[in-house]
């Protein structure tokens, strides 16, 4: 009677683990509201976190496939990866605007 977990289920678990941290959820909301890339420093200033902690969170988001990162000089810009949200959490991002 054992049910095996699919690759997508592990993917889902990783995604939800990312979203279960209030700080990461705020990062997602900021990125969604701003509709553009933001730097780590810029995002870190909105929460009361050191840069190393912000970097830790961004790594998690990136590995879960929730964000894209592009590098310009020494600055890294982070943006949402909408395909992932569309596939695993359709309609979720919109709910972040309600409150």
């Amino acid at each position: 009677m054992n049910i095996k977990l699919s690759d997508n289920d592990f993917r889902r678990a990783e995604i939800f683990k990312c979203l279960s941290d209030p700080n990461r959820l705020q990062l997602i909301r900021l990125l969604y509201k701003n509709k553009k890339e933001m730097s780590c420093t810029e995002l870190g200033e909105h929460l009361n976190l050191t840069l190393s902690t912000v970097s830790y969170h961004f790594k998690a988001l990136r590995l879960a496939g929730l964000t894209n990162t592009i590098k310009d000089g020494r600055t890294k810009y982070v943006s949402l990866r909408y395909e992932t949200f569309a596939k695993f959490l359709p309609g979720f991002l919109e709910t972040l605007l309600i409150d």
Copy 2:
């Protein structure tokens, strides 16, 4: 520059924490596929978990508002609370059927 978290954000964090565990995700899927209430024992047999562990997970799901529980004699039947999914994760349950 500090952003305060709303009550709903704490609610979201709790919900996502629930869904970030692969076993709980399977419980949700089983409940969704069966379209009816199931008992703890019945659900526990599908995963390789002791009854106390299953009980622990169901408490988490109930506290997060993801499930309803009705008691009939000594058996407790658990079902999904669709309003919660509709409010915080519209469209999510359907994605569980794809794979």
